[in-house]
């Protein structure tokens, strides 16, 4: 039963234990995870919704509402909730479930918390793989919650079919200082905590910023909600459904395949480079020492690795 084929079968049959174990395997990058994902990739059925935004914006509270919405039509809902890992200890406190308790014992809701772990390939590698597992197991939608820090929000936008960027009033005046381009990653901009003061101000600021977007770009819809009291949710669901209608199943599938390939290519490139570093420099650490002591520049190292790769391919041809 622990054979790769057995694991794939159990995941597709929807075995909770098998899915949970498989998520651990792909997250840890265990040796058999590539074969498992290879088997699951073509069996994906679901669509993915990304939810990103600053800490405390109400993302988990909104995800809880989204689960309720899709459960009312009897969809099985998978949730990947990512919280930051400490870069110093590697530990993480994963508390998103606290806000999703209303679905605690629903057998058709599967919530998985993940630490961002400082993955080499960025957060997207692990969430992408976990999303593939959920989708092959029949969960649709797969909802991905990530804290909008660093690269995470861009990565989730690449991964998900539709991305919601959640903003709230009063997180300082830093809407003004928001990273350039952040508005563009959301397909829908959700202004949460509409029950709070400052929501009008936030809305006019966000709308003014969107005016500045190049006219060739699709403008995101802006929806005001209160995830806490339910206000505006119907409009948000309609906005999501409208966007889903615009992309065909085929387009979603193709997009996801290409995004996955992009990720895999990056990872493959990195792994290959590490192997070359082993051969040429006796490992990355040694190469780093050379650079830090001024004996070689990063460019020189890159050049040497590329030359080594080319030599390898020439050998293959004879």
């Amino acid at each position: 039963m622990t054979s790769t084929a057995g694991i794939i079968r159990s995941v597709c049959e929807g075995s909770i234990r098998a899915i949970a174990r498989t998520l651990t395997r792909v997250e840890n990058g265990s040796p058999d995870s590539v074969d498992i994902l290879d088997g699951l990739f073509g069996k994906q059925q679901g669509f993915t919704l990304g939810v990103t935004g600053p800490p405390g914006a109400g993302k988990s509270t909104l995800v809880n509402r989204m689960i309720t919405r899709y459960r009312s039509t009897d969809n099985s809902v998978g949730v990947i909730a990512v919280d930051p890992s400490s870069p110093y200890t590697g530990g993480a406190l994963l508390g998103d479930r606290i806000r999703m308790q209303s679905h605690a014992t629903d057998p058709k809701v599967f919530i998985r918390s993940m630490g961002s772990r400082g993955h080499l390939g960025g957060l997207s590698g692990a969430t992408r793989d976990a999303s593939c597992v959920f989708s092959a197991a029949g969960y649709s939608p797969v909802i991905i919650e990530t804290v909008g820090v660093g690269q995470a929000e861009v990565e989730v936008a690449d991964l998900a079919d539709i991305t919601l960027l959640v903003l709230v009033p009063g997180l300082g005046d830093d809407v003004q200082s928001m990273k350039a381009g952040i508005m563009e990653i959301g397909d829908i901009i959700v202004l949460n905590k509409a029950d709070r003061n400052g929501i009008d101000q936030l809305e006019s600021y966000v709308k003014a910023s969107l005016e500045l977007m190049p006219s060739t770009m699709e403008r995101p819809e802006v929806v005001r909600i209160s995830a806490a009291n339910g206000e505006g949710l119907d409009e948000l669901w309609e906005a999501i459904d409208r966007l889903l209608l615009k992309i065909t199943r085929e387009e979603r599938k193709n997009r996801s395949a290409i995004q996955t390939l992009n990720g895999i290519l990056e990872e493959t490139g990195r792994n290959f480079s590490e192997k070359l570093l082993d051969v040429e420099y006796n490992g990355r650490d040694a190469a780093e020492r050379l650079i830090l002591s001024g004996k070689a520049s990063p460019y020189a190292v890159g050049k040497k690795l590329l030359a080594a790769a080319e030599r390898m391919f020439q050998h293959d041809e004879c």
Binding site: P31, G91, G95, A104
Partner: protein, 133 residues
């Protein structure tokens, strides 16, 4: 491979005392573990389901209200019923000395009472992980 110790800290029943649970959760995080905290007022079934979905190595239960003799064994029973008795159980809170043997019999590897330094809990987990490998 990028393996991490995963622990779920749960509070079953109506007990609202959550300082101890949060304190332990943070201490385990600071020791490099991934800690899922489910919040207060969970049913034993909800804790067991969460533990299985999260595929944790350990479940730690916290109770200060006095209901431990009922709720602790209940979590253990449901996990067994769901074929997840490989998850290591431990717990803590206001628990009289004389209740501890019964809880151990119910499947709890260790019980930590008020005043326990967090490092003792970290050591316990690391030791259990070593034993397992």
């Amino acid at each position: 491979m990028n393996r991490k110790i995963r622990v779920l800290i749960g509070k079953p029943g109506l007990d609202g005392h959550d300082r101890g649970a949060k304190y332990i959760a943070r201490a385990l995080r600071d020791a490099g573990m991934e800690v899922v905290y489910t919040g207060i007022r969970q049913t034993p079934a909800a804790i067991a389901d969460a533990a299985i979905q999260e595929d944790v190595d350990f479940v730690g239960i916290s109770l200060l209200s006095g209901a431990h003799n009922h709720l602790f064994p209940e979590v253990a029973r449901i996990l067994r019923e769901k074929d997840a008795s490989d998850i290591i159980l431990f717990g803590g809170g206001v628990i009289p000395e004389e209740d501890i043997p019964g809880l151990k019999e119910a499947g709890y590897s260790a019980i930590f009472t008020p005043g326990t330094p967090a490092s003792e809990v970290v050591d316990f987990i690391n030791l259990q992980m070593e034993k397992r490998q």
